[in-house]
Amino acid sequence: MRPGSVAIVGASETNELGEIKDKSEIQLHAEAAINAMRETGLKPSDIDGIATAGTTPSIIAHYLGIKPGWADGTMVGGCSFLLHVRHAAAAIAEGMCSTVLITHGQSGRSNIAQGGFVGGGRASLQAQFESPYGIVGPTTMFTLPVLRFLKETGTTIEQLANVAVVQREWASRNPRAKLQELTSVEEVLSDRMIAYPFTRAMCCLVTDGGGALILTSAERAQDFPTRPVYLLGTGESVEMQMISQMYDKTRSTAFRISGKKAFDEAGISHDDADHLMIYDAFAHLPLYGLEDLGFCGRGEAGAFIEERHTAPGGSLPTNTNGGGLSYTHSGMYGMFALQESVRQMRGTAPAQVEGAKISVCHGVGGMFYAAGTIIMSNERP
C-alpha cells in the first residue's frame, strides 16, 4: 500500500457499551456495522469486502445481506481487526475490492451467544505443557512475564500501577467510559489481588459491545460525508501460543516486527506521532508497547508515564478513551483502539487532542500471541 492511498470512511461503535442484556453477539456486530453504513450512506449492496473475527465472515456477511468478492477471517485475538485493516488496505490497493466492512461484536460480559477462541483440545501443546499448571485465562498467562520485566528493566510496581492511574484521568473526560472516577497508585495497589503482582485495577474490564470500520480508496473517500482518515503504514506479526515459550519475556518480538513494518511503510519518525493507542488488556502492555515500538528506550517507559508524557496535556497522549482498563473491554478490544484513533483524527473524540494529525494504533492478540500496528492521519501525504 502506498501511504495515503486507502482511507477509513466509516467508524462506529454499538449504541451502548458495558452490559447489554437485550442483544446477542451477532446483533452487536450488526448494530455497529449498520451505524457505520448509515454514517457513510452505504447499503449492504455497496459493500464488496468483509472481515471479522470471533465469528466467521460468512455468518456476518449473510446476516447483513452482503455478497462480497473478498473476505478475511483472520483470527489472532484482540488485534485481529488491525490485521484486517492491513489486509483490506492491500486488497483495495490491488483492486481486489473497493469497499470493505470490518466488524467486531462481543457479548463478553453477558455471554449471549458468544463465540471466542479456538482451542486445540487436551492434546494441544498448550494443553500438555501449560494447562496442568492451573492457568485460568488471560489473568494468569498475559501477566506471567511481568516480574521478569520489572527486574530486568528496573521498572517499579508503583510505575506499573500508575499506568492504570493515568488512563483513568483520560477516562474521566470520556462520558462513555465505564470507570470515570480518578484513582491513585495506592488505591490500585490495594485493590483485590487477582494474580500477584496484578490487582483488579491493573486488569481490563469485561464488557459487551462492538465496533465497525469501512475502508475504501482515498480517491473515493472524498465522496462520503465523513472526514477521511488515511492509512500511512501498517504492520503485523504472530509469535506463539504458549506464554512460557515467548521468545523474550521482557520484549515482545511480535510488537517489534509489527511496529517497525508500520513505521517503515509510513516513513515517519516517532516525533511525528501526535497520538498513540496501545492495547492495554493489562497495565504492563503500554510499558512493553512504548519500548518495543521505539517511543522509549529500554526500561524508560515507567518513568515516561510517571513524567506525564502520556497523560492529558502531555507530549504523547496515549489511550485517550481510557483504554481497556477504564473505557471498555469486550474481549477483543483492538476494534475500540482503532475507533479512538479514528475519532482523534476526525476531531470528534471526547478527550480530543487539539491539532493531532498522526495517530499510531497498536494492538496485541491473545497473551502476546500476535500484534498489529496501524498508523493513520487526517492529512493525505
Binding site: 500438555q128 496442568p132 527486574k151 494474580a195 500477584y196
Partner: protein, 139 residues
Amino acid sequence: MPDRSKVSVPIPTPETAHYWEGTREGELRLQRCRACDDFYFPPRPFCPVCLSDDIEVVAASGKAKLFSYVINHRPHPAFDGPYSIAIVELDEGPHLMANIVNVAQTPEALILDMPLEVVFEQLTDEISLPQFQPAGGEA
C-alpha cells in the same frame, strides 16, 4: 484440600510421547539438535533453527532457576488457596511452565533467579507432571 483429580491431564501425541515416558520414569527428557548443539522445547521431531531431523533425546539435569511467576488468587479446584504459576529456565536453556512446590506461595518466599530442582507428581498411571521446588529440597 486441593482435588488433584481436577488437574487437566495431558494427552501425549506421537511427537511428545518420549517426554511423558520420561517423566513417568522420573526423568526430564529434552531434545537437542546434533547439528546446532542446542536444546529446544516444546518437543518436535526437527530442530526449529536448522530444520535438521538429526536430533537426540537427552535426560536434563533437572536444575533450573525461577525466571518469572504470578500467584493466582482466583479459585481453582485443583489448588488450595493462592498458588504460583511460574516460568522456569532450565540449566540447558529452555523455559518450562511449572508450579513452584514445597515452598510458601508468597512473594517473600519466591525470589527471582532462586535455584530450583525438578520433582515429579504422579497424576495418573500414565502421566507424571514435572514440578519444581527450591534446590536442596523443601525450603
